[in-house]
């Protein structure tokens, strides 16, 4: 639209545009007319992205305002950093932040190496059938929905009928109320996640391993290297770039504990350990009797900005140390 009006004004001789802008306008016009079909094709996806991703980003300004539905996003009065200050000073802040970081760092530390180990182990299996079976079975849980996953956790850990407690009773101990005890929450969350995702997570490393030059292994075998040595000195360095990239991406998610799984696993008894930023945003912003949109949006923004910052920092560190980075 803009280019077009610029151009017509130009033709009419009333244009006050500089020569350079005019040339650029012409170039854009030329490109538009040559590839107009491509622009038409991509128009709908672009409109979608702007509406459903960029308008909410524009709407995030309510974090600095007191949002009133009648005034709209633009018309609501500014309040500066009030909501952020309020969040930082609430007595729940420390606990929520601690829970969020505990769960995600625990997930990362426990969950990051396991797919790598699995891939290295699978890569050394010579029996094809066995390898295929292990892959098929370990990938499968990835397709189980979060709701079903949490349902399974609750069934397995149920104090009445759960198989875990039956085994505990078999050894003569009292059944444990796993879901009601805050101290078990993060372990249940993390290890069930590993059960579900480790197999799937190993695919990308298997791809990286298959890309390693086989002559490296052949040369090492001739030199008398053992399998263990080859794993450590050939396979591990071979998948390092992949691992670093995934580490960076995960670091950018450190404050993003899966909302769905946490809210499903949450109950009033384990709340002390299970309230994380995302669930808190949902509760104050949407689920409460008097939804506080601005306050919720401020907490969400606080979270998103920290994520973005962490990812940039880790990316920079990775670039310096390993020459591998996202961009």
């Amino acid at each position: 639209m803009q280019t077009r009006s610029m151009y017509t004004r130009d033709v009419n001789g009333k244009g006050i545009l500089s020569g350079r802008t005019r040339a650029m306008g012409k170039a854009i016009k030329k490109e538009m007319s040559r590839n107009y079909q491509l622009y038409l094709i991509i128009l709908l996806p672009v409109v979608y992205i702007i509406v459903f991703h960029y308008i909410p980003m524009y709407g995030v300004q309510i974090a600095f305002k007191n949002f009133r539905a009648t005034d709209g996003i633009w018309g609501s009065p500014w309040v500066g950093f009030e909501h952020f200050r309020k969040f930082l000073s609430t007595h729940q802040f420390g606990r929520i932040l601690r829970n969020t970081i505990t769960i995600s760092v625990y997930s990362l530390v426990a969950g990051f190496p396991i797919p790598i180990i699995l891939a290295l182990a699978l890569n050394n299996v010579e029996k094809i059938m066995f390898k295929k079976t292990v892959q098929m079975v370990t990938y499968a849980p990835y397709f189980i929905s979060t709701v079903v996953m949490v349902g399974m956790i609750i069934q397995f850990l149920s104090p009445q009928f759960g198989i875990v407690n039956r085994i505990i009773e078999l050894f003569g101990f009292e059944p444990i109320l796993f879901m009601a005890e805050p101290r078990y929450f993060s372990s249940i969350y993390v290890w069930s996640g590993i059960w579900q995702g480790a197999g799937w997570g190993s695919i990308i490393y298997l791809a990286a391993l298959s890309g390693i030059d086989p002559t490296l292994h052949e040369a090492a075998i001739i030199d008398g290297a053992t399998k263990l040595q080859r794993t450590i000195y050939i396979d591990v360095p071979g998948i390092m770039p992949t691992a670093v990239i995934l580490l960076i991406l995960n670091a950018g998610q450190i404050m993003n504990v899966g909302f769905e799984k946490v809210i499903l696993m949450q109950n009033s008894l384990n709340l002390q350990a299970s309230e994380v930023i995302a669930t808190y945003v949902y509760k104050v912003g949407l689920a409460s009797q008097i939804p506080r949109y601005s306050y919720g949006a401020a907490i969400g923004l606080f979270n998103a900005v920290i994520n973005l910052f962490l990812m940039l920092v880790v990316n920079r560190i990775a670039k310096r140390l390993t020459e591998t980075s996202l961009w």
């Binding site: 094709i41 991703h53 397709f143 709701v147 399974m152 769905e260 994520n307």
Partner: protein, 300 residues
């Protein structure tokens, strides 16, 4: 591998043994819970209640599955989920191709700007509340379209599709078509799509499974039970344990224990039945999913 020909050293034998032991343990740890759930779902209520199921079904019955069909909202949940999955996936695939193809063309000058616009959304977003305000403003609350439109496109899938187009659709093909006066839209339909069966299969599966398992949008934006997808009904039954036995027609048992039993059994059979559509097709389409991750890895 060349290894097989060379006589194994003791160190290698130990390594192999440990390797197989670890992988066998992994296999058992992953497989056992799945077997246990399936076996429980086919067992009798009393066996489930008394904890007599360990590996195989005890006193096999289909009572649990019968209860699913007798539960009013589970069936409507299935119907809704199929509806959202079917139409949602169609929209997704069309939108993804429409975004990915122009972005794969080197002569498309705006591609870097548009790619940047898309990619940025993977790292930053407005968040739950501003999105809710938007959805509300668009009148999508409690509307079936909310399960289809707001998730019409996944940037990640656009990236893998674009990568695929870049590597498989040669420039010569495009030039030949353009010489013959073929428009871009026609080129996509007549040439690009028929040559891209593999990637279309991959993204279709990713999207379809995503829709089937989706929970968030329904949880936030729907509150009319008639519109609930299966996952929200599952939440009530499995997580909140809100099973109104009266909703299961045909249960006229007076004893509380029998009621409790049917509740427990229903949970197991429901876990199986809800995951069945995805897990049944999984062995046949596994290679496509793996391919999707691999294509993603090239660019990742």
């Amino acid at each position: 591998m060349a290894t097989a020909k060379i006589k194994k050293t003791i160190a290698d034998k130990i390594y192999d043994t440990i390797n197989y032991v670890i992988l066998s343990l992994v296999l058992i740890v992953v497989l056992y819970p799945l077997i246990f759930i399936v076996s429980s779902s086919f067992s009798s209520t009393s066996a489930v209640m008394a904890g007599r199921v360990w590996l195989f079904p005890v006193e096999p019955t289909l009572r649990g599955y019968k209860a699913i069909f007798e539960h009013k909202y589970i069936l409507s949940g299935y119907a809704n989920s199929f509806y959202y999955m079917f139409f949602g996936t169609i929209v997704n695939v069309i939108m993804t191709i429409m975004a990915a193809y122009p972005l794969s063309r080197p002569d498309f000058k705006a591609r870097n700007i548009i790619m940047g616009l898309f990619a940025f959304t993977m790292f930053f977003g407005g968040g739950m509340i501003p999105t809710y305000i938007l959805i509300n403003k668009l009148g999508l609350i409690n509307n079936r379209l909310v399960m289809i439109i707001p998730g019409a496109l996944s940037v990640w899938n656009v990236i893998i599709t674009r990568t695929y187009f870049q590597t498989t659709i040669s420039n010569e093909l495009l030039e030949a078509a353009q010489l013959d006066g073929c428009s871009d839209a026609k080129f996509i339909i007549k040439v690009v799509i028929p040559l891209s069966g593999a990637i279309i299969a991959v993204i279709t599966l990713f999207y379809a499974v995503g829709h089937w398992n989706a929970f968030f949008n329904a949880f936030i934006y729907l509150n009319d039970k008639k519109l609930f997808p299966l996952q929200l009904i599952l939440r009530e039954v499995l997580v909140l344990s809100e099973i109104d036995v009266s909703m299961i027609a045909g249960v006229r048992m007076e004893e509380i224990e029998a009621r409790e039993g049917i509740k427990e059994l229903l949970k197991y059979s429901l876990i199986v039945a809800a995951s069945a559509p995805v897990l049944c097709m999984y062995p046949f389409v596994q290679k496509y999913f793996v391919k999707g991750v691999m294509i993603g890895a090239i660019k990742g």
